[in-house]
Amino acid sequence: MGDRKVLYAEDGMVLTDGTTYGRVIFLAEGEDAAKYREISEAEYETILEVEANKQSE
């Protein structure tokens, strides 16, 4: 993987930096892992639902 860092979310959690969401994230070289935090799957699904409803209006 070269200099890539790989982040793994705990079971039942999803990683996010507020824009990107993922259960496994292969960071670009030089990207800061500290900007990612974990949210629950339920919270992630809610975010998706809100986004889908907003786009369908």
Partner: protein
């Protein structure tokens, strides 16, 4: 009027509608009635589609009234404004084949917005979709373009490096097959798509080698079904400038 005069009037009317010029006997007149009906249908088809396929195509085939029986385009579909073009249309199946049956094509080489173009539509396959005429750095023109649960294949998506995509552009929950031509230079999300190995490979290969700060998202399930760990590492090694998320 005499019987002869009436018969001549009937024959004249048939000739007028069918373009025939020869004398018509009774048998030919009986056949002519059917031909007049078909000529009328063709005339109405031409009248409607000559008028309907003017304009930009915004919302042109959106809604429940458009289905495989009513969708009978006469001309190539070349939208300049693709806003909601097929939104919630009930036309089902392979768009390429459907259009081929009518002798027409779908051409987006001059389309400037794809907002909601195929959202909630029922196509299973699309042909070539050309994004390259769109303005750069405007993700709103790609909101929910392919947000549909039936779409399985997009033959080709033509892109250019300056385009910005919405997070919902490829919210196609059945999309397996897609090929990109050009360079992807904006964050792009395929997290809902059960993409094939070839599709994921096409996408990764199309990612800009120069841009920074961008992310491509794939379905974790799709990636794990398609690649071993070593294959995956080899694939993404060529794009160290991209963050790659599996969701």
């Amino acid at each position: 009027m005499s019987v002869k005069e009436k018969m001549t009037a009937i024959a004249d009317a048939i000739r007028d509608k069918t373009g025939k010029t020869e004398a018509l006997g009774l048998d030919e007149m009986a056949e002519g009635v059917g031909e007049v009906y078909e000529a009328g249908q063709k005339s109405e088809y031409d009248r409607f589609w000559d008028a309907y396929q003017q304009g930009t195509y915004q919302n042109q085939f959106s809604g429940n009234g458009w289905n495989n029986a009513t969708f009978r385009p006469k001309y190539d579909i070349k939208p300049t404004n693709g806003y909601m073009l097929f939104y919630s249309s009930q036309i089902e199946g392979d768009m390429v084949e459907i259009l081929a049956q009518h002798g027409v094509k779908f051409d987006t080489s001059r389309t400037t917005t794809f907002q909601y173009m195929f959202q909630h539509s029922k196509f299973m396959r699309l042909g070539e979709i050309d994004f390259t005429y769109c303005a750069n750095n405007n993700s709103s023109i790609f909101i929910s373009t392919f947000q549909t649960s039936t779409l399985v294949t997009i033959d080709k998506v033509k892109v250019k490096e300056g385009l910005a995509f919405a997070s919902t552009t490829f919210n196609a929950s059945s999309l397996e097959n897609i090929t990109f031509a050009g360079v992807i230079g904006g964050t792009i999300n395929f997290g809902r798509c059960p993409l094939s190995r070839d599709s994921i490979t096409s996408i990764v290969n199309a990612l800009s080698a120069n841009s920074t700060g961008l992310t491509v998202t794939f379905s974790k399930t799709a990636k794990e079904a398609a690649f071993t760990a070593d294959e995956w590492a080899a694939l993404i090694a060529a794009k160290p400038n991209w963050t790659i998320s599996l969701v």
